[in-house]
Symmetry: C2
Subunit: 323 residues, 2 copies
Amino acid sequence: MVSLDDIRLAQRRLSGVAVRTPLILCPRHQADRRLYFKPENLQPVGAFKLRGAYNKIASLSEAERRRGVIAFSSGNHAQGVAYAARALGVRAVIVMPETAPRVKVSRTAAMGAEIVLLGEGGEEQWRVRAEELAAAHGYVMVAPFNDETVIAGQGTVGLEILEDLLGAGTVLVPVGGGGLLSGVAAAIKLSRPDVRVIGVEPELANDAQVSFRSGRIVEFPLDQTRRTVADGMRATRLGDITFAHIRAFADDIITVSEDEIREATRRLALGAHLVAEPSGAVTFAAFLFHRQELPEALWNVAILSGGNIAPETLRQILTDDPV
Amino acid sequence: MVSLDDIRLAQRRLSGVAVRTPLILCPRHQADRRLYFKPENLQPVGAFKLRGAYNKIASLSEAERRRGVIAFSSGNHAQGVAYAARALGVRAVIVMPETAPRVKVSRTAAMGAEIVLLGEGGEEQWRVRAEELAAAHGYVMVAPFNDETVIAGQGTVGLEILEDLLGAGTVLVPVGGGGLLSGVAAAIKLSRPDVRVIGVEPELANDAQVSFRSGRIVEFPLDQTRRTVADGMRATRLGDITFAHIRAFADDIITVSEDEIREATRRLALGAHLVAEPSGAVTFAAFLFHRQELPEALWNVAILSGGNIAPETLRQILTDDPV
């Protein structure tokens, strides 16, 4: 399990690399229920993933760094690894599905990574292919979430929230593979056990909620999870390491509907002037539409995990009727 | 003329009211030419206008505050005055043209201001009507830009930039009526005369540039200025006070095309994940497309003055082909 010292070490490594994103007050808040956004969409790669990837690569030996790193990702993890590897002068190979959003593929390539595009398949096939490449070339695998060093990097988001908002009562965290929730929940509960940490995921991909509540990792078919507009949350199962952290540190996991995600994304763009990808907006959706399921708190924080939305998706969401 | 002490007093008044917006590094910057955004679109009213309006109303006597304030505005100034007046417990009447963006009218009303909507006309007619109402009811007029106390409030943006970025070389400022440029240029030149302050306006509404270069205030017909997509910049002339400040403190004013404004708005949304209104994005357009006209600097700042864009305008801009 990740310790507070691990997360503090990650924070020192990330100083001057990741943006120390500010807390931004939600413009139209209620006096008795205030909300801050933690806008990780303002990171250089448009998502928090840079934190874990950089912490992992910075922890490698000189010999490992010389061989290079490899990752498999349909999106933001790819950009995080590519950015971190370039910053540290390390070669990066990224295995991506052909179905990944075009904008994410091209931006990853633009950061100097070598891209290996694979046809249809699931996480398992991509992981196997990445592992074959890693074995053949001696690359170090940078896992997207199921790795303690990656989790410690994501946990720096939690430390920053505690430093910037002493009165934080509830912190809402998006859940895909669970790396961000694992790290943030560990950082917060190991420092301030009174602060509530709630994971949020789409109804259509609520494998983490089912796993959390049943006490064992439940896997969903990719055909189900890929139906959500939250394309960063189509991971079909938690890892054993993220599951252990979430069981130990998270207070609950709740779900939001597709309409709620779209409406939250719309309001973020037009009201708060922040572009979030749907996966990044699930926490605001939970704040807006699921008050009864959340602990009451004067000061709430919604982590916006990323902003890499396809232009056509954003355009469609702006066309939606307000909920 | 506004003094540095005036701006520092405004800064103390605004503490805890206006958001101290962070400088955000432009994600894809060149090593020899870096850019920070000063995102005033993240203010509670979605624009910097809150600063000047609040500073003005906070400077009034008790007797004046009891009578209330009035303003005429097609947009962000209206919201700034309404928000500031509510924060100070002062009644606000806002005179707006019927042609103002719907979203700006409804948000101003939602802040508790009384709205007086007027039919077609120009700034001059609205000002006259507002002055009639002010005289009849004893309201204090809060001018949108041509007022030293308002200018001092906007100048706090400049102080914050200097505090946060010691190495700032060039600061780009949108110009409508000139209040923001007046305040920012005064704040910067009275502290750090080596830092360049450049105004940016649309080619279609470049009355400030023509005035600056000819040495006298030139007025444009509203039929011309209203053609720009930058609806916050349709003011047809500088005021005598803003003109005097801009002559004294600004280094230059340059212009950008409509296509450049749209492209900058698009890239801000999709690349930097910040929603700016076209008027707010002119500075990024200047940075992207007018390098030759700008002083060379390692560290540049583009003030994004606001984010209150109509959903249909943003949607259309997302449909544009990349430039």
